[in-house]
Symmetry: C2
Subunit: 300 residues, 2 copies
Amino acid sequence: MTLAALGEDALVARLLRGLPPGADVLAGPGDDCAIIGRPRDRRWLLLKTDCVIESVHFPADTDPRRVGWKALCRAISDVAAMGGEPRHALITVAVPGDRPVAWLESLYAGLRKAARRFGVGVVGGETARSPGAVFINVALTGEVERTCCVRRSSGRAGDALYVTGRLGGSLAGKHLDFTPRLAEARWLAANFRPHAMMDLSDGLAADLPRLAAASGCAFSLDPAAIPRTRGCSVEQALGDGEDYELLFAIGERNAAPLERAWQKAFPRLPLTCIGRLNPQSAIRNPQSRLRGFDHFRQTI
Amino acid sequence: MTLAALGEDALVARLLRGLPPGADVLAGPGDDCAIIGRPRDRRWLLLKTDCVIESVHFPADTDPRRVGWKALCRAISDVAAMGGEPRHALITVAVPGDRPVAWLESLYAGLRKAARRFGVGVVGGETARSPGAVFINVALTGEVERTCCVRRSSGRAGDALYVTGRLGGSLAGKHLDFTPRLAEARWLAANFRPHAMMDLSDGLAADLPRLAAASGCAFSLDPAAIPRTRGCSVEQALGDGEDYELLFAIGERNAAPLERAWQKAFPRLPLTCIGRLNPQSAIRNPQSRLRGFDHFRQTI
């Protein structure tokens, strides 16, 4: 069987079977970040690795500054989705030997801009020669107060489901220029303790079923309620991917207070209730056949 | 200017200029690992990222089990060289979509074997589609007691220089099957406090000048003393690279006691004095024109 036939979720599950768990691992593969620490520690360490690849995650003629921004901000978005703060990054870049140094310097200018903006220290930079495409890997650590840590797997039946911002149309440019919702996620974690949260990287159609499944819930989704980028269809909002908005589940009675407080805290960023988590015996996720971005099934 | 013309060391130095330092960074780029912590903490966090790329670091027809072993063991070797213990790893693998799943499963079997052997918890596994070559990135954390941490930059004039094992001939297979010198490095750090240490990844001819320069020293090297893999010339021992042996500098009066104790602790692994660190005004490193492996200058 080939990778394209199996798909990413099934593949990762299969590969990670039988791996040694390691000490102090509170959450391993399967959430936005791994969580390292002891249950009663005041703060936990978050770990994330993520890559962007030329002609998969960005076209070859993309401004390298935007590529650098995207590479670091994708990982920052994952740390944010756990309720955490990013700390230190290690960058690996593999490029063909005939690439002008100026290209790499522009890439690093983009990385540096994101690092400054979100308080990340870049503590290591590996370079290697690539026989083909450019490959950039970011390994990022974060910290989260135990009381602020939000997992993907703790949603409860009855929770209201919210998304930030507007979805769809990422390829028009948003996938290179997005702002990770770090401030918003920290605010949510500190003030409203969502039960479950993740960032939307593969599209709502792929990511919402993941959050629901991890939480042992079914879900209902109101397609008409999905906040869409101007000019986008519901299908695009569901399936384009690379929105890097937050998806979270919050207790129903917190919904109204949240909406009022959000309006004051982030008046320029929409927050939209798009559905709810249900007991697993309820509606069998009619939308789950809609597909988001699968790394082995779609190309940009 | 192209990357091949500039070379890796100059390139990394140039790229990392002006990057925000980040809080709690005791050592950033330039050593085998970054060191995170506060000066008086009992234990520090080590961070390392490293990649192996098809047709750069391994031929395309290599047994994927050996590739997985190598990918993780390279990073373990870097943590060992700081005197630390590896803790948690995040794996990124980019492969063409038509690669059989069995290939990836074998790769993970090799990763798993190394993780078990050296006590590493694999806490995350990303997969992505590669448009060409296979690319594997390992991000590894480690821990080191403050009193055991050995940097590359603390060598002193007069120190004796030692290497473990035998150098050269890595392409005959050792580069895929080497054993990171974790036990040896921990023993050295705990019992003999080397002033400076690193692992030999690019060859003694490239790595020794790095250790000396980081320590603000010159060095003298006795080429005849270099322990060579059977059948290798001095040039091969200096320049082949990928030895993954330890190079360290230790106070002269510790040299004799070290050699006696080593013989008892690791009777099957040679330990060889190959030279010494000198004041910077002394011999101007006549060997420094010999080149080891530069990622932009050589191919396997």
